[in-house]
Amino acid sequence: MPALFLNILKLIFLALVYLFLWQIARSIGAHVGPGQRSKKTKVADELAVIRSETMAGQTIRIGAGIVIGRSEEANFVIDDTYASDFHARIGQQQDKVLLTDLGSTNGTYVNGRRITVPTSLGKGDTVQIGKTIFEVR
């Protein structure tokens, strides 16, 4: 029965190819995606600088509350000519993280929209101050 034998051989070849790909697909998950997702906390507590000329990659702990601005007296001094001296404040209130614009010249943006009132932040939101963009983590 060569026809039957060839058919079985064909299926074995295909099965081996799929087995191979399955082995890779199973373990590739850990290698795809931005990674570092394991440290999951419920409330956002960190800002990561994701676009900036000089500060990209830095992270800032929010803690009880911080003021971001260009002034030396701000909690987080931002190196960005488009930011105001005291640009915005981020603080914890009950279980929320609130972002307040402190009357800055160029405004504060959450997910691309300029904010006018204190705005609550969740993980994954982006905050833009001047030309610097943060991501809430």
Binding site: K10, F13, L14, F20, L21, S27, G33, P34, G35, K131
Partner: protein, 426 residues
Amino acid sequence: MNRNAEASLLVGASLLASLGVAMVNFTLGRGFDAQVALTFVVWILSFGSVSLALRRWAPAANPYLLPLAAILAAIGFTEIYRLDADLAAIQRWSLLLAGAAAALVLFLLRGEGVRQLRRYRYLFLTVGVLLLLLPLLPDSFPIHGAEINGSRLWVRFRGLSFQPGELAKLFLALFLASYLADNHVAMSVHTRRVFGLGFPPLRHFGPIIIAGGVAFIVLVYQRDLGASLLLFALFVGMAYIATGRRSYLAAGGLFVAVSGVVAYQAFAHVQRRVDAWIRPFDDYSDTGYQIVQALFAMGSGSISGSGIGLGRPDLIPAAATDFIFAAVAEEMGFAGSVAVIAAYALLVAAGFGIALRTRDVFRKFLAASLTIVLGVQTLLILAGVLRLFPVTGITLPFMSYGGSSLLANMILVALLARISHTGRSV
């Protein structure tokens, strides 16, 4: 640990390659000669040398890139061997050469190598463009261009022929990553809005316009629709990835649409391709022949294929090169083609994963642009074979017969692996 997983997967892929060859021998009555063992040895030597180079100079590299390339090469090689044993013998030598070249690249880039590439951007641009234009050298020169099937893509030196455009893509990807690493911030600033999309100052469209120009020259003088589209997609895609501005995509899409219409009106070779795509059966015996043969082949493949060596993929013109996917779809069926597409998808996912996880902008952009080169090339030729798009005549990475393509893609994967090694460090 990772490297051991890679090694065992590579052995698996090598066994599959020789199993494929054994099946061809069996069904075509070629007898169990040395080919089976030889194929296994070549796979082990070629991919093994890259794997050893990774072990030595990039031990933390992503361990799945190389096995994916190895299995794609194994499936493709089985079909090449089935179609023409002489081509397969040349392909084996190319694979050895490609493996050695990739290992050499890893050696040269040991330590801080990749970071240093950032400095030589205009050298890479010049080399890339020169390589692209090399086939235009007149026939009287010792190294001269050659025209095959109406496209002038080959360079001949004595008896050797080479497709320099394949390597040019790597150099252009390097240039682009370096250029964008320095300019992406400026390029993402909007100065005006048109139709609800913000647009950066006109001078930042410079690279896009240059890309359009180069793509246009390639299209007109070398009649190479595929390389032209690939280069343009690379430039536009990278401008978008680097800036996050959709205006680059919009401008690029508009440019492609307009120049597509113009090219269709102005160039007979483009017109022929498009007509053969839309109405292949109108001119079945001539321009539509290749596509129609491929459609019949894929249709007769059914779910699990006719069996390796039992179909007639030899009836498709260029079955071992551009249309290798149709041959695979006929003899390994829907199941085999889905496996191939899945392997490419995993490769592209791994590539973008590396780009996402890399902090240093230059290496991040380099990983992204190499992945775009690989992904867009695969997409273009697969879509062409499946009649979702006009046939663009580029090779399917790792599977098609062709030394230049194999060499370029092996180096591409080695570069991606090298970037993944230093992924998270700044």
